[in-house]
């Protein structure tokens, strides 16, 4: 089966084609165009959606070309219906609807977070992992139980991605700021004390963000280092608590921040102590991409028919723990 996936929840517009044969799936192409806001500024939903509109056709045709398939060959089309920014979500949905309607192809709305999870599982081979989702939109620990991913722990305020981006923008970096912060952090080992807040399985980053901004005059490298050390140690501790409690034997990390080396190092050490296998989604596919959407749609199509065009939707705050997983 051939599935096209369209991702447009935030800064990335991406299309991918995956071929699924039984339980095996292969990514034939994954093409992206990423909206870049001016340095020091955040993502503006309307500007981002304009970028998506402008680039949609180019990304789509390049994706089909690379996969060597025609629209007519596609068995299903999936799009990210949420969670995400309204104007951005609507671009992907419109593209998906038009294709599905014109070519009469079944269409599947997909949850973006579930997409991260499924793609991570497929690429790493993790079977029944505790899941850590770290990105701009999420900071969550999830366990699968009775047909749904259940939240075992999460952030009580902003996400890890928001922490890094908001700090980075304050320092005048270009978004997304994670890479730059990681680079600068690697040049220091001088720890400045910052607020560390773990509540049971949950974390809170807003106090850390304000404090880090106040310390910026003490030297950017030192503050980046201390910010990373504090935030990632908090995530490490929350993860260790979840592993000790659930006794899961696998940990899988997905989402944009999964590509951070220091975070991976911390989680490796956590897993060693808790006697658990560590899986991290490969860098290129950890962040937002069409593959995550395409794969999830294909999995859904094994148990469900597509939805009617008039029933396609976008939902800005579509919680991952509300999605029934039947496959």
């Amino acid at each position: 089966m051939l599935g096209l996936g369209i991702e447009s929840t935030a800064h990335t517009f991406s299309c991918a084609v995956i071929e699924k044969k039984g339980t095996r799936s292969k990514i034939l192409s994954d093409v992206r165009s990423i909206y870049q806001p001016p340095d020091g500024q955040g993502i503006h939903p309307r500007e981002a959606s304009r970028h998506h509109v402008k680039n949609a056709a180019i990304v789509l045709s390049e994706c089909l070309q690379k996969a060597k398939v025609k629209v007519n060959d596609l068995d299903i089309i999936s799009y990210a219906a949420g969670p995400g920014l309204g104007p951005c979500l609507r671009v992907g949905a419109v593209v998906a609807r038009s294709l599905a309607f014109y070519y009469n192809i079944p269409i599947y709305p997909v949850n973006h977070a579930v997409g991260h999870i499924e793609l991570g599982k497929m690429l790493t081979g993790a079977k029944k992992p505790l899941l850590l989702l770290v990105s701009g939109g999420h900071t969550m620990l999830l366990v699968f139980s009775l047909g749904k991913w259940r939240v075992f722990g999460e952030t009580l305020d902003i996400t890890i991605g928001q922490l890094l981006d908001q700090f980075g923008r304050f320092a005048g970096f270009a978004s997304p700021c994670g890479k730059r912060i990681e680079e600068l952090a690697s040049k220091s080992c001088n720890y400045i004390a910052l607020p560390y807040v773990v509540n049971g399985n949950d974390v809170s980053f807003s106090g850390l963000l304000s404090a880090a901004k106040l310390e910026i005059s003490k030297g950017l490298e030192d503050v980046c280092f201390s910010l990373q050390e504090t935030a990632f140690a908090m995530i490490g501790e929350a993860t260790e608590r979840a592993l000790a409690f659930t006794r899961e034997k696998e940990l899988l990390v997905v989402g944009g921040v999964a590509s951070n080396k220091r975070l991976a190092e911390i989680l490796t050490s956590v897993c060693k102590r808790q006697d658990c296998k560590f899986f991290v989604c490969p860098g290129y596919y950890a962040g937002d991409c069409g593959s995550q959407i395409s794969l999830t749609g294909l999995l859904e199509s094994s148990v469900k028919n597509g939805v009617k065009i008039e029933d396609t939707f976008v939902k800005q705050s579509w919680r991952v723990d509300s999605v029934e997983i039947a496959y």
Partner: protein, 208 residues
């Protein structure tokens, strides 16, 4: 002192040992190699002191918790009474549902006395015959704030939902009933509505 490692907890290594011919638990917060050293020492020390202090205090409010025998802030370790029994976490569903009411009462009593636990999971309650003991006070603090008490309730709810999914609804209802019976309707409603506020916050965080 002869001791046997019986558990690697989230935070600490737990050893079974002896103290004056009684079984005892030696809880040691070992350095975490992944954590920055300065941060690590600060957290371990702080939590050891907190834990020993509040574990002692709550007993004065009629809550069952291990006796503290000895605290070593340098080694960040606590020697405490061993509590024979089962973790509430490992109870069969039908028992767990019932016990949620008593847990609600215990948490109510603790909050009423101005303490939040900070790590209210089912692995931190031990049931011995029909007495429930509360352990693991490393994240506890002295506070009467509605927000703080709500964090305790929310965590317990989150644990029911993710680890005891099948009995979540009834367990939570029972917990609230027990809680209400101690703190009163008005206070229970205040704390409960703050739980919803926290949930909304994480839940509908704008995705940027």
């Amino acid at each position: 002192m002869k001791k046997t490692l019986i558990k690697k907890g989230a935070e600490a290594d737990i050893y079974l040992t002896n103290w004056n011919n009684e079984k005892a638990i030696y809880k040691k917060r070992e350095p975490k190699e992944y954590r920055n050293l300065i941060l690590d020492i600060k957290l371990r020390k702080h939590r050891t002191i907190r834990e020993a202090g509040i574990m002692h205090d709550v007993k004065l409010f009629g809550i069952h918790a291990p006796l503290v025998y000895f605290v070593d802030t340098k080694k960040t370790s606590i020697l405490m009474q061993y509590i024979e029994g089962n973790l509430v976490k490992d109870l069969p569903d039908r028992k767990l549902v019932k016990i949620c009411k008593e847990i609600g009462r215990i948490v109510g009593r603790m909050h009423k006395s101005g303490v939040m636990h900070g790590d209210l999971t089912t692995s931190n309650f031990i049931i011995q015959k029909d007495i429930i003991f509360l352990i693991d006070f490393g994240l506890s603090s002295r506070t009467r704030k509605i927000e703080d008490h709500a964090i305790d309730l929310r965590l317990f709810k989150e644990v029911l939902n993710s680890a005891h999914t099948a009995i979540m609804e009834q367990g939570w209802t029972n917990f609230l009933q027990g809680y209400k019976s101690i703190v009163g309707v008005a206070r229970k409603n205040q704390v409960f509505s703050y739980v919803s506020i926290i949930e909304q916050r994480g839940r509908y965080a704008t995705v940027v």
